[in-house]
Symmetry: C2
Subunit: 218 residues, 2 copies
DNA sequence: GCGGAACTACACTGTACGGTGTAGTGTAGG
DNA sequence: CCTACACTACACCGTACAGTGTAGTTCCGC
């Protein structure tokens, strides 16, 4: 009765290996150029197994992107806890933001994986509308950052009239120049350059949301 | 002697028609999925003519992206003149910046062409390293904006310690949220939303570079 | 040790596409 | 009229790849 001829259950480990290999190949080649044969080779698995697990190339791609993005969201929350988790007073704030920005941007630019997934999603947005479903405000990473900033606002460390907007600007200010210059991970970028870009971004963020700032909107 | 078997001269009009059709198809399908047959059909031209003009698919792609980007740089300078060209005093400044941002972001999000080329370049950065050659500071659009901001700085309308950085932030603040939400043109965005995003970006820009702002760096 | 599921190796089909070669049709200039 | 060129239409080659079918092997639970 079901159109789908029942995917194989299999082992989570093997499934994970396939997803990892698929991510590698998709990121390196793009969706259209990536061949299932190459993915099977990279995962040390027979092509047949991939089809038994995932059905077809499209579903393999979607699973890969979704599972990778989910894992990154978890990693992001960790990063957030480690860098912005214990800001005691105002003196801690800017260093904490810089350290957050640096950790985030470095991961973005160097581990390449996060930016690479972003690049994949941008490239394939037309062909996989499912990828662009989730609005910014509902992404868990965004929520976590917005909540943290709102808390800083309540404690008087920052002036945060709109936590969602503030979170968006912070993430953007510390990462987008890095992403643009590295073409979302396609071109290399050295640490000093990353530091410079992040520091500039944090400076702009603080001038807009810093504690001493009156919200001088009419 | 030359490896290249001499491309055909032909008429500029026909060449332009091919480039326009190629841009359409490349943007819609991506490089790998786009077939030269489809481009020929879209340009109402025989496939053979395309090969006579451009040699192969790769060179067709590069010509398309480069020529489109060059045309956009010209359009950007026009836009700059029309929106930031005659700022008489401080009262003119914010409206002018908003109007610049709105014009730019609207073009980015709606005409789709600029963002689409960006999307193409991001997607193909790995396979066409030539695309990511030019550093930010040397792009003519960036230079034009930076020069304009530097002038505002000299006239005391803004506080611009580093025109290059300021130009980068302004362009970024008014466009990147639009690009991210529209997935570089792949998803629609309504005018009200664009206005909101642009206004927010200009506000942050002015809090960092506004005239009343002391550069309180230690 | 039996049965079934997981898995591999491999052959095979259909199709799409990059690129080429060529014959033939305008078309402009001398 | 003749030559040279731009261009089209079309057939064609080689290859790459998604997806399937299947026979045989390994592995695990009972």
């Amino acid at each position: 009765m079901p159109d789908t001829p029942a995917l194989r259950q299999g082992s989570p480990a093997k499934r994970a290996a396939i997803v990892r290999a698929a991510l590698d190949v998709f990121v390196r080649e793009g969706y259209a150029r990536a061949s299932v044969d190459a993915i099977a080779r990279a995962a040390s698995v027979s092509k047949r197994t991939i089809y038994d697990y995932f059905g077809d190339k499209e579903r393999l791609f979607l699973s890969t992107v979704e599972e990778t993005a989910a894992a990154q969201a978890v990693a992001f929350r960790d990063l957030l806890d480690h860098t912005l988790g214990d800001v005691a007073d105002e003196a801690d704030l800017e260093p904490a933001l810089v350290s957050f920005g640096r950790a985030f941007a470095t991961e973005v630019a160097r581990s390449a994986e996060r930016a690479a997934v972003m690049r994949l999603m941008i490239a394939e947005a037309h062909h996989f509308p499912a990828l662009l479903r989730t609005p910014t405000e509902e992404r868990p990473a965004h929520r976590a950052l917005a909540d943290r900033l709102a808390e800083f606002g309540r404690r008087g460390l920052l002036t945060i009239p709109d936590p969602d907007e503030a979170a968006e600007f912070l993430g953007l200010l510390v990462t987008v120049r890095v992403n643009h210059r590295s073409w979302y991970g396609a071109a290399p970028l050295d640490d000093a350059e990353i530091d410079r870009l992040v520091a500039g971004g944090v400076r702009v963020f603080l001038s807009a949301y810093g504690p001493s700032r009156a919200t001088d909107r009419p």
